[in-house]
Amino acid sequence: MSAPIHIRPDETFTLNVGPQHPATHGVLRVKMEMDGEYIVKAETVLGYIHRMHELMGENRTYPQVLPNLSRLDYLGALGYTHGHVLAVERAAGIEVPERAEYIRAITVELNRVASHLFWFGAFVMDLGGFTPLMYAIEDREYILDMLEAITGSRLTYCYYRFGGLYNDIDDDFIAAAKAFIPRLRKSLKKYDGLVTGNIIFRKRLEGIGPISAEMCRKYGATGPVARGSGIDFDVRKNEPYSVYPEFDFDIPVYHECDSLARYKVRMDEMEQSLRIIEQGLEKLPDGPIMPKKKPKLIKPPKGDYYQAVETARGSFGIRIVSDGTKNAYRFKLRSPTYSNMHMFDEACEGMMIMDALAMMGSLDLVIPEIDR
């Protein structure tokens, strides 16, 4: 028989969460130094699915990069492609017809709801409840079907074009979207009753995973993570783009700074997105979906352009440095989860590991978007 193992009380051990772990929702590794069940120090290791989209943006022409952007975030892809087309339109000075802008807003919001629905299911599953995922995926399926009918793909959309859209929406889409809104409103009530009040759920989230507003600022966190820390910041309101100023919607903000606040922000955001979709369908103007005059070859004048949009995960920015040719000289993608995830190392120090994983779930990570 071997001698019993003695661990000194001050001894720590290293635990690798990931790279293949269901709680990380992708190929992410966190090296944790543990003292029993408590995290002493954590270090996130990235880059397992790094694909260098920024270099691809430099050695392809502007239209050739279009499909790349939806490969960043497979859950809320339209938000990212929206940012890209807006950035190139700003650089090249392309006008967009109003109908196209409205359809963009409607589809982006639908995609945001789909992304939040999936996050809701996966998050509750992280905490041990499997049933809500099934409900959420059922609702999300309606959105995917709608978007598939008009865009041609289910997740990695390439629907927007510089100046407009690839395809107009039809009556079937409008009817389906109009039928979906009351359906999801009913479902949201059901989710609220099923999950939000659950005592196990609350005990695992309330007061857990605090992220202060000051910390958000130092790390540049945006999106629902910042809004759960009492920061009233949404690019759609603070720095309006596209047709968002035309819509009447609110930005949910919670001041508790814990995981539950981030959950509540996202649940409220779905309702606000439904309001935007409703108004968009009502106001939808007639007209063309592509501009009459559009340069055949997109060559933005020399300069440095920046465009920020609000995606499902936060503020997504694109910097295009143009040297006047048909390829971008520099193509920088600023992804929101990159900054949000960066806080995790500092925020989880001293936490128990299962609380840290619950907090990781509340950050809504999509790894391809961090690694780019």
């Binding site: 920024e54 430099e58 910041f233 920046y306 465009q307 503020s315 920015g317 920088k332």
Partner: protein, 180 residues
């Protein structure tokens, strides 16, 4: 307006502030040969350090600051005190001028919007700028990423190892002379 106060505070950092009107807005679409020739003339002289106010609708940011790496920390501290958050850090390889540019983006959680871009240039051989991760903790990963892609050394960075590239990577893919 926060834009004006920040502009004033940043201009104080430079001993001789450059008049704003001197720089031509670089985003006007050039039409005709005359305009082209004029543009080329202006492009050839390198940009002087200083604060520029830019048209938000055409470029997407309000203030454009160019400074020497030595003045970087002072400028970033001004933004930190004015409650800015860090958006991103990146590089641009200007191979013809034999320089690497480091670009810092800052913005505010506010309805009084002000986006500030800080640029600083460093020679392509032995590129190095001071780290700002002691002021903005979020700069840590952004600087590591920029180090991965451009090989820019951030002096004083606590943990400058590859982040997105493999841990033994000795290449910098976004340099214009990079051959895979």
């Amino acid at each position: 307006m926060i834009k004006d106060t920040v502009k004033q505070a940043l201009e104080e950092l430079f001993p001789v502030p450059e008049p704003v009107a001197e720089e031509a807005p670089p985003v006007e679409a050039a039409e005709g040969e005359e305009a082209d020739a004029k543009k080329k003339e202006k492009k050839e002289e390198p940009r002087v350090n200083g604060v520029l106010e830019r048209d938000y609708d055409t470029v997407g940011y309000h203030l454009d600051v160019q400074l020497d790496p030595g003045e970087l920390l002072a400028a970033v501290l001004v933004l930190y005190k004015a409650e800015f958050f860090i958006e991103s850090i990146t590089g641009v390889d200007w191979i013809k001028e034999d320089q690497l540019e480091v670009v810092y983006d800052f913005s505010r959680y506010d309805f009084d919007q002000c986006r500030v871009v800080i640029r600083t240039r460093t020679p392509r051989t032995e590129p190095s700028v001071p780290t700002i991760s002691k002021i903005f903790s979020g700069a840590n990963w952004h600087e590591r990423e920029t180090h991965d892609f451009f090989g820019i050394k951030f002096e004083g960075h606590p943990h400058l190892i590859p982040l997105l590239l493999p841990e033994d990577a000795d290449f910098h893919p976004l340099l214009k002379d990079f051959k895979p």
